[in-house]
Symmetry: C2
Subunit: 407 residues, 2 copies
Amino acid sequence: MTPPTAKPHSGASTVGSNREQVRQHNLSAILRLLRQFGTMSRSALTQRTGLNRSTISDLVTELQELGLIVESEASATQGVGRPSLMVSFSDEVVVFAVNPETDATTVGVVTLSGKVITKVRHPHSTVPSASVSVETTTKLIAELRTQLPVEFRIAGIGVAIPGQIRVEDGVVRLAPHLNWVEVPFARMLHQQTGLSVFIDNDASLGSIAERDLGAGRGFSEIVYLFGGAGGIGGGVIHGGLLLRGAAGYAGELGHVRISDSPREDYSGLQGTLESLVQRDDLLAALKISSADDAELEEVLSKPVTAKVQKLLESQIDALAIAIGNYVNIFNPEIVLLAGYLGVLYSYDRDRLLSRFRWSTLTAPQDRLLVKPAELGPNLLMIGAAGLPIAPLLAEPAITQLFPARGK
Amino acid sequence: MTPPTAKPHSGASTVGSNREQVRQHNLSAILRLLRQFGTMSRSALTQRTGLNRSTISDLVTELQELGLIVESEASATQGVGRPSLMVSFSDEVVVFAVNPETDATTVGVVTLSGKVITKVRHPHSTVPSASVSVETTTKLIAELRTQLPVEFRIAGIGVAIPGQIRVEDGVVRLAPHLNWVEVPFARMLHQQTGLSVFIDNDASLGSIAERDLGAGRGFSEIVYLFGGAGGIGGGVIHGGLLLRGAAGYAGELGHVRISDSPREDYSGLQGTLESLVQRDDLLAALKISSADDAELEEVLSKPVTAKVQKLLESQIDALAIAIGNYVNIFNPEIVLLAGYLGVLYSYDRDRLLSRFRWSTLTAPQDRLLVKPAELGPNLLMIGAAGLPIAPLLAEPAITQLFPARGK
DNA sequence: TCTATATTGTTCCCTAAGGCAACAAATACA
DNA sequence: TGTATTTGTTGCCTTAGGGAACAATATAGA
C-alpha cells in the first residue's frame, strides 16, 4: 500500500547520488518543463535540459511507456530542418482536487497540464464536520471515478483547506472557520478512498498554482497574498519552491503584526494585517450582505461615500505597509495580490504603490513587480491538484498510479 | 582569469544531470559533511551519503589528490572490526575573510574547517571611503600572503559588509554607516588582488556562520536576528540555504514595521524593530559612553534604575512581537538572537518568551527553540570565509585555487 | 596466546546511462 | 531540383557507482 501521505520535500536522508537518482532527476526535469510550458518540442527539451538528443529520445520513450506523456507531429512548422516532435502530458492521468468550505465542498478532476476536466460543488446547509466532509468527498470521488474512461489512471488526491496544516502527516491543526481542531484529514480520506492523499493550506496552494500556471509563471521569488471572506493568507515561493518551514505552517502572512491597534483578527492576534483589512468591513460600509470579488469591483468602479472611501484608504495603507515589510524580508521578483486584495489594488493602485514605497528600502524595489493574481475560480482546484502531481513529477518511474475503476 | 565574482547559487541554467555533475555532487556531498561534522571516518561517510564503500574510497582519493582533504589513522578506537580512516579538511587551503567597519578593517585567514588562523585589525581614524578600504585590505592581504607557507593555496576572499549588497556582481548598494553608495567593491578588490572576491551583508553571513559552525548546526530552518551598534539585521536559512531573494537583499528583518510609532530607524523607516530597539538608547539610559555586549551583560546582571528597567522591557516587548511575526512567517525550527539581542534575551528570558507566545499562532510554536547565538568575536570572520568556501565545496574539481605566493 | 567474529579498505568486474558520431529523414530556400 | 539545415535514430564508447571476494585490523572469549 501507499502511505497516506508522502513528504513534499522528498529530501532523501542520504546525500549521495547514484545512477538511478540521475535517471529520476532527468525524467523529472522533462516533466517539470512540460508543466511550465505546456507543450514542448523535443529539440526545445534538448536545449532546456542541456542533455544530448539521444538521451532525450531515450527519456521521452520511457515516459511514454509510463503513460505520462504523448508525442505528436508538429502542427505549425517553425523553420528550416526536420520538424521536431511535440511532447505533451497525457490527458489520461488525472488527480482529484478537493476544497472543503463552510458552505460547500468542491471536488474537481484535473489533468497533469492543469486543465480542470470536471468540477462538482456539493452545498452544505450547516458547516460540515470533518467526518461529514470526508464522507461527502468520498462519495463525490466515487461518482466521478465511474464517469472516467477505464484507461484513465489516478495519481492521487490533493486537498486545499483554510487552516493550519501539518503537511508531513496531513493533520489539520486548526481550521477556525470550519471549526476543525487536530483532524487527521489525510488519513481519514485515504482510508475511505484507498488513494494517496495530500493536504495543505489553501493560500499556500494558491501561490503554487499562480507560480505554475498563473501570473507567477517563470518567476522563482514570489510573495503571494490572498484575501478572502475568511481572512488573509499567503504563500512565499523561494528558489521556485514553496516556503513551508519546519512543519508546513510557514506563510501565515496575514497574521503578522504591523500596528499597535488592539483590533483582533480571526485568530485573536492584535494589530495584524488581517485585523486591519477585513472584507466584511467594506461590505458593512457599503450595506451589502454578500458579493463576490467581481461584483465588489463593479460597485467600487462607481463613486462611493466619504466613509467608504476612508475605509478603503485605511485598508490600502495597511496593505501597503505589509507589502513593504515582505519586500524587505524576501526581496521578491513579484508580489501577487489575489481575491479581495486584488480588489483593493484595482481601486487605488497609485495610492497602494506610493505608500508601499515609503515603507520599503530602496534596493529591493529594483525591478519589483506588484500585480494582481491571474487565476480565477479554478485557482484552488489547480493548486490542490499540484499536491499529488508534485511527487509524480519528482519520481515518475517510482510513483504508483491507481486505475480509474479499481477499488 | 577567474571572474571577479561567481554566483552563490550556481544554479545551472540547464536542468538535466550528466555524469560529471553527479561526480561533482558526490565530491561536494563529502565536503559538506566534513564542513558540518569536522572530522569524519570513511565508514561514517559511507553511511551518511548512502554510497558504496568502494565509491567513497574513490571519491576520497580524488579529493586527496585535489589537496582538499587529508586522511589519518583513527586515534581513538571505536569498537570491533578494522578501524576506519579519519577524513578531515586539509589546513593548507585557506580563504581571506574581510570586515570593513567604521572604525577599523579586519582581515583574517580562515581554513576550510572554519578555524581562524590569523586575524589582523587595522584601525581607521576616520570612516574609510571604499577606495581607502580596498587599499587597506589589499595591503593587509599582501602581508598575510607573504607569511603563509609556500605550499598553501587560497580559495578566495569573502567580505562581510554592513549594508545592502547585490550579490550577483558584488556591488554595495548602500552601506549607511560607512557612507558607501553604489560601490562595486568586489570588482575593485579583485582588480587589486587577482583573487576571487565574494561579498555579502554582514547579518546574512552571521546566519550562515551560525548554521555551519554555531548554534544552528544541524538545523535547516533558522531565523537569525543580530543587533549591533549599527542597527538590526537578520538572516533566514530555509532548506539549509540562505534566503537571498531576487538580488540578495532579502533578510532585512530589522526594517520591518511592527508599530505605528513615528520613530525612525537608521534607514528612515518608521515604527520598525530597529527603530524601537536601539542599543544606544540603553547606553544613554545607563549613562555609559561605550561598552561591548559582554560588558553590557555584566552591568545588567546588577540592579538597574526603574527608567532603565522600563526601557529594557519596552525593547524586549518589541523584540517579542518581531519574533512572533517571523515565527508566523517562517515556521522555523530555531530562532537565534545574536549581539545586543542576545543581551536582551539574557536580561529577561521569561518576559521575552511569554510575550512572544501571545503574538504567535499556536501551531508553529511546536518544538520551536529560541536561543542566543553561540559564535563570538570570530562570527563575521567565519561567515565571510563561508562565501568563497561555498563554491569550492559545490564544485571541488572545477574551482580554481590560487598559490599563496603567486601574483 | 590463540581463535572466532566483526568491520573496514582494496581490487576487479559488471552495469547502466549519458555522450558522440554517422546516417537517415524532413523541412526551407535559392 | 539541389543544397543547407535541423532533427530523430542507431550503434558504440566512456565513466562512475554497485557488488563480491579477499585482505587487514580491531574486539571478545576461552
